[in-house]
C-alpha cells in the first residue's frame, strides 16, 4: 500500500516533458516535489499564475502572491501573471495539458464527484468544474475506498457530479487504473505487495484485468 507521498511520486511519472499542469489541493499538490530533473513542467495556479514555485522563505512571504489553495508561494523564472478570466480561458482553450485532482467518487465511464455531499455544508466547486470540463488529460489521486471501507471506484457516482466522462487515469494507494473510453477501470499496475485480489475487492465498478499485472516501479 502506498502512502500519500508515494501516490504523488507515482503520479509525477505521468508528467510529460514541456507540459503545463494544474494541481488540485491535497495529494496533487505533493506531485510538484517529485518531478524528475530532466522533465520541464510549468505549474498553473488558476487564481492567475503560470510558473508557480515552492513556498517562500520567511523573508519573501508576499500577501499578494498566493496559489489557488490560498497558500503563500513564489514565482519561478519565466513566470507570468494574469487575471481569472484569462486563467479559465487558457483552461477551456485546452492550453493546460494535464489536471491532477482529488475525488470522492469516480465512475467506470470517467464521471467524477468531488465537490458536494448532500446534507453536509457545501463549500463550492471552485475551479473544479471548469478544469474537468476542459482538461485534455485528467488524473485522479485518491484513496481506493472511503472511511467506511466502501469503494470509491463505482459503476455510477452516487454523489452530485463535478463533471462527466472526463477522468483518464486513477492512482490510489492500491493501484494505477485507466478509465477506458468504452467504460471500465483497466488495471495497469499494483502497489508493491498488493494482490490483484485485494484490488478486486476494493473496486465496485467494472474492473478489467488482462494478463499479468506488474508492480509499480519507483526509480
Amino acid at each position: 500500500m502506498l502512502d500519500k507521498e508515494a501516490i504523488a511520486k507515482r503520479i509525477a511519472k505521468e508528467i510529460q516533458h514541456n507540459s503545463y499542469v494544474n494541481l488540485g489541493i491535497g495529494i496533487p499538490t505533493l506531485v510538484a516535489n517529485y518531478i524528475p530533473k530532466n522533465i520541464a513542467v510549468c505549474f498553473q495556479s488558476e487564481n492567475g499564475l503560470l510558473g508557480m514555485g515552492p513556498f517562500p522563505k520567511e523573508a519573501d512571504v508576499d500577501a499578494d502572491l498566493i496559489n489557488a489553495g490560498k497558500q503563500t508561494i513564489t514565482m519561478l523564472p519565466g513566470a507570468a501573471l494574469f487575471d481569472s478570466a484569462m486563467s479559465f480561458g487558457m483552461i477551456h482553450a485546452q492550453k493546460i495539458d494535464l489536471t491532477i485532482l482529488g475525488a470522492m467518487e469516480v465512475s467506470e465511464n470517467g464521471d467524477i464527484a468531488n465537490w458536494k455531499i448532500p446534507g453536509k455544508m457545501v463549500k463550492g466547486m471552485g475551479g473544479a468544474m471548469d478544469l474537468v470540463a476542459s482538461a485534455k488529460n485528467i488524473i485522479v489521486a485518491m484513496q481506493h475506498v472511503n472511511k467506511n471501507g466502501e469503494s470509491k471506484l463505482l459503476p455510477n457516482c452516487t454523489l452530485p457530479l463535478t463533471g462527466i466522462r472526463c477522468v483518464k487515469k486513477i492512482v490510489t494507494e492500491l493501484a494505477v487504473l485507466a478509465v477506458l473510453p468504452e467504460g471500465g477501470f483497466k488495471l495497469l499496475e499494483r502497489a508493491p505487495g498488493v494482490s490483484v485480489d485485494t484490488i478486486k475487492k476494493a473496486t465496485l465498478g467494472k474492473l478489467i484485468i488482462e494478463g499479468e499485472i506488474p508492480e509499480m516501479a519507483f526509480d
Binding site: 487564481n47 522563505k57 508561494i73 487575471d83 481569472s84 479559465f88 457530479l161
Partner: protein, 232 residues
C-alpha cells in the same frame, strides 16, 4: 485637462450605494480584496445586498465582516469555506447562496465588461449547475449558456492607479479585480498608491480608466494571509 475620477475616501466612494443593490467585490480569498470599501460598507450599514465575489471572506475579515452585520441577503460565489458565520446563516436560511464554477464567475464578469449578453461554457455540463439552463452543442461538445452579470457597483482593489482611473495590479491580486472592474455600472477602485496622470507607464496598465468611475488611495492595508506556508 485630464479626466479626474478621484474621490476623497471609501465613505465618499460608496455614499450613494443603497440597500438591496447588487455589488461585485474583487479578490481571491483575502488576496486583493477592497479592504477600505468593505470597512466603509460595514460602517454605513447598508443591508439586503447581493454580493458577487469568488469567496466570502473569513469570520472576522473581508466579506465576513459584512456577514456578521447581516448585510448580505444573497451571495454568489465559487467557494465559501473557512467561515463559520456564513455556514450558520446558510443553514438557518438567513442567507441565500448561489455557487457557480469559478470560470463561469470570471466569464460572466468578462461578458459584462465586453458588452456581451452571455457566454457559453462547458463547465457544469452533466451536473446540477446545468439544471434549467440552455445547452447548445458546438463541434460535438455541449456548452451551457450563462448570462452576463448586471451589478450596480463593482468594487476593486489595485496596487497603483492614477486619478484618470488607470489601474495596475501586483502578482496574483489581479484575480477577479480586472474583470469586475470592467463589469460594474459604477466601478470603484481603491489603490495602495494613487498618482497623477502621466506617472504610470501606459504600457503597464491592466485596466484602462474608462472602466473606472471613482478612485481613491486607501490606507492601513492589513493584507491578511489565509495560509502562510514557508519553505525551510
Amino acid at each position: 485637462m485630464t479626466i479626474n475620477k478621484q474621490v476623497k475616501n471609501a465613505e465618499e466612494a460608496i455614499a450613494d450605494l443603497k440597500d438591496g443593490q447588487t455589488i461585485m467585490l474583487g479578490g481571491f480569498g483575502l488576496c486583493g480584496i477592497p479592504e477600505n470599501c468593505i470597512a466603509a460598507l460595514v460602517k454605513k450599514g447598508v443591508t439586503n445586498l447581493t454580493c458577487i465575489s469568488n469567496n466570502a471572506g473569513v469570520d472576522d475579515f473581508g466579506i465576513g465582516l459584512m456577514l456578521h452585520q447581516r448585510q448580505v441577503k444573497k451571495m454568489i460565489a465559487s467557494y465559501v469555506g473557512e467561515n463559520a458565520e456564513f455556514e450558520r446563516q446558510l443553514l438557518s436560511g438567513e442567507l441565500d447562496v448561489e455557487l457557480i464554477p469559478q470560470g463561469t464567475l470570471a466569464f460572466r464578469c468578462m461578458a459584462a465588461g465586453y458588452g456581451m449578453p452571455a457566454i457559453f461554457t462547458p463547465a457544469g455540463i452533466g451536473t446540477e449547475v446545468a439544471n434549467g439552463k440552455e445547452i447548445r452543442n458546438f463541434n460535438g461538445k455541449d456548452y451551457l449558456l450563462e448570462t452576463a452579470f448586471n451589478a450596480d457597483f463593482a468594487i476593486v482593489k489595485a496596487w497603483k492607479g492614477d486619478t484618470a482611473g488607470n489601474l495596475i495590479f501586483k502578482a496574483t491580486s489581479r484575480n477577479f479585480n480586472t474583470v469586475m472592474a470592467m463589469a460594474g455600472k459604477i466601478t470603484i477602485a481603491e489603490v495602495e498608491e494613487l498618482v497623477e496622470p502621466g506617472q504610470l507607464d501606459p504600457n503597464q496598465i491592466h485596466v484602462p480608466g474608462v472602466y473606472i468611475h471613482r478612485i481613491f488611495q486607501g490606507s492601513n492595508y492589513e493584507k491578511r494571509i489565509e495560509q502562510k506556508t514557508i519553505s525551510k
